[in-house]
């Protein structure tokens, strides 16, 4: 992962009157500064309170907790930060999923904590099915240019991480805290009417189809001479991942 997840957290904080007074005092400053993207002092207070309960620092709370549909929710990045800061995972791996032509189709996240291990996937297909890729409607009626169009790979990665975190470390993330919207829609977990997990499935890794990472140009160079690679590509140096894959297939890599 490229994002920094190094934050210092403290767990099990009790809410005391002095903490509450402090949050109320800080909130208007956070709102007026316009640096934290909150629409009111009350929203700032709610975010800081949620962050405080989870053990986040004041400014980290604004980075990792967003208000989604009126509720302060922990982002997948925040969930991972909390999990990693406590060193609870025995295994963690994020992999890009690609089809046989090497085209990006989604992301997969594997987490292991003690005896519980889970592999979550989130694909571009899932995103389309959940209408995430359309952007938000703007005042002109047109759809906005959203992160799903700009950074689909990163968005899939964080979704997969969020799902895995919700299953493997619900105690750390505070239960249903990541704003993934309808995880049940993707057959990953069962959620009751209150939004609590009814059943956390420890999916056997063997059941997950294995995706082979296509070779890169550097991988090909380990096996073949530059001239061979270019010859297999009609005399040209490969320009795209598709061409690299075609060369690999032709050379039997």
């Amino acid at each position: 992962m490229t994002e920094s997840t190094s934050i210092v957290t403290t767990r099990n904080k009790e809410l005391t009157p002095s903490v509450w007074d402090m949050l109320k005092e800080i909130a208007p400053v956070m709102h007026v500064s316009r640096l934290f993207g909150v629409s009111s002092p009350e929203q700032a207070t709610a975010i800081m309170l949620k962050g405080y309960e989870l053990g986040l620092g004041v400014t980290s709370s604004f980075e990792f907790i967003h208000v989604i549909e009126g509720k302060p929710s922990l982002s997948p990045r925040g969930a991972l930060a909390l999990i990693q800061s406590q060193g609870l995972l025995d295994g963690f791996k994020v992999t890009d999923l690609r089809d046989e032509k090497g085209n990006y189709i989604g992301a997969q996240c594997y987490m292991k904590r003690g005896d519980t291990e889970y592999t979550a996937q989130f694909t571009l297909e899932d995103a389309k099915r959940a209408n995430l890729t359309e952007g938000s409607p703007t005042s002109s009626g047109k759809r906005g240019y959203g992160n799903w169009e700009k950074y689909p790979e990163r968005m899939c990665t964080w979704r997969a991480i969020g799902f895995a975190a919700d299953v493997v470390c619900p105690d750390i993330t505070g239960g249903l805290t990541t704003y993934l919207k309808m995880p049940e829609a993707f057959d990953t977990v069962t959620v009751d009417a209150e939004g609590n997990f009814e059943k956390v499935v420890s999916a056997p890794v063997a059941a997950i189809p294995e995706f082979v990472t296509p070779p890169s140009l550097t991988d090909l160079l380990d096996k073949y001479k530059p001239e061979q690679i270019m010859e297999a590509n009609g005399g040209k140096i490969p320009a795209t991942i598709e061409e690299v894959n075609a060369v690999a297939a032709k050379l039997g890599a």
Binding site: T2, S216, G235, K236, I237, A239
Partner: protein, 258 residues
């Protein structure tokens, strides 16, 4: 949003990723240096002369110099525009240099058609696997034998090794190869040296396919760092100086001036 890279952009990133961020992401204003504006004007002048051998080179220079200054925020320092204009006149009046310029013969494109033209300022586009944007550039001239070449102006002579190590050569050869233009694997640096007695250097090198793969690796890593928003400072670079970096005062300079 970055929609393309160029050789100079990649070169800047390799010199200092933070300077690259300031220029291309933060879009902090940059000032043109006198050598840069001189190089640009000189380069246009030589290209014009090659395309139109019948024209008088000093009269071309008279047009190219003001055109290069137009719209530029040049930081002249102790220099003056006249000084640089006269420097151009001095070099272009040198018989040996002028003889060399007239020997440069460009390849002819679309021969026998209405669009027949010399291969000057050819746009090329390179694609590198895993790099989300094209790398765009312009080859100054493709010589008669198919060798791409680049004009340079320099205060001092170039060494053979300096010319052979330029990534720019590989970039152009790779782009031509991808565009299915037959390449002879050679590249020429045509250097005008601003010494007391002006000089012209033609440094030509042959490259190997393996070098193109090295270039691709460099570009892949630059792009990877850009995507990860990794822009470390590079204080050891030659560029990290008030003389060469537009961002020095806002960067290292603010610590040094205290």
């Amino acid at each position: 949003m970055i929609d393309h890279l160029s050789y100079s952009s990649i070169s800047l990133f390799l010199d200092c990723p933070e300077a690259w961020r300031r220029k291309y992401i933060a879009q902090e204003p940059v000032r043109t240096s006198p050598p840069l504006v001189f190089g640009s004007a000189f380069h246009n002048c030589v290209e014009d002369k090659i395309a139109n051998p019948e024209k008088d080179i000093l009269s071309i220079w008279g047009d190219c110099w003001p055109a290069a200054l137009e719209g530029q925020d040049v930081y002249w320092g102790a220099d003056t525009p006249e000084q640089h204009f006269n420097e151009g006149v001095r070099i272009l009046s040198n018989k040996a240099v002028l003889d060399e310029i007239t020997k440069i013969k460009p390849l002819k494109l679309d021969v026998g058609t209405d669009t027949e033209r010399p291969a000057i300022e050819q746009k090329v586009e390179l694609r590198v696997p895993k790099v989300g944007v094209p790398i765009i550039g312009y080859i100054d001239v493709i010589l008669e034998d198919g060798t791409p070449a680049d004009f340079k102006t320099s205060k001092a002579s170039w060494s053979d090794s300096k010319a052979s190590e330029q990534l720019q050569s590989l970039f152009y050869i790779a782009a031509l190869n991808q565009m299915e233009v037959p390449v002879n694997w050679k590249f020429a640096h045509l250097i005008f040296v601003k010494t007391k007695e002006p000089k012209f250097q033609r440094l030509e090198h042959r490259h190997k396919p393996a070098e193109l793969f090295f270039l691709f690796r460099v570009i892949e890593q630059v792009w990877d760092a850009i995507e990860k928003q990794s822009f470390p400072l590079h204080p050891g670079s030659w560029r990290c100086s008030p003389n060469f970096c537009d961002f020095y005062q806002a960067c290292k300079g603010q610590y040094m001036n205290e």
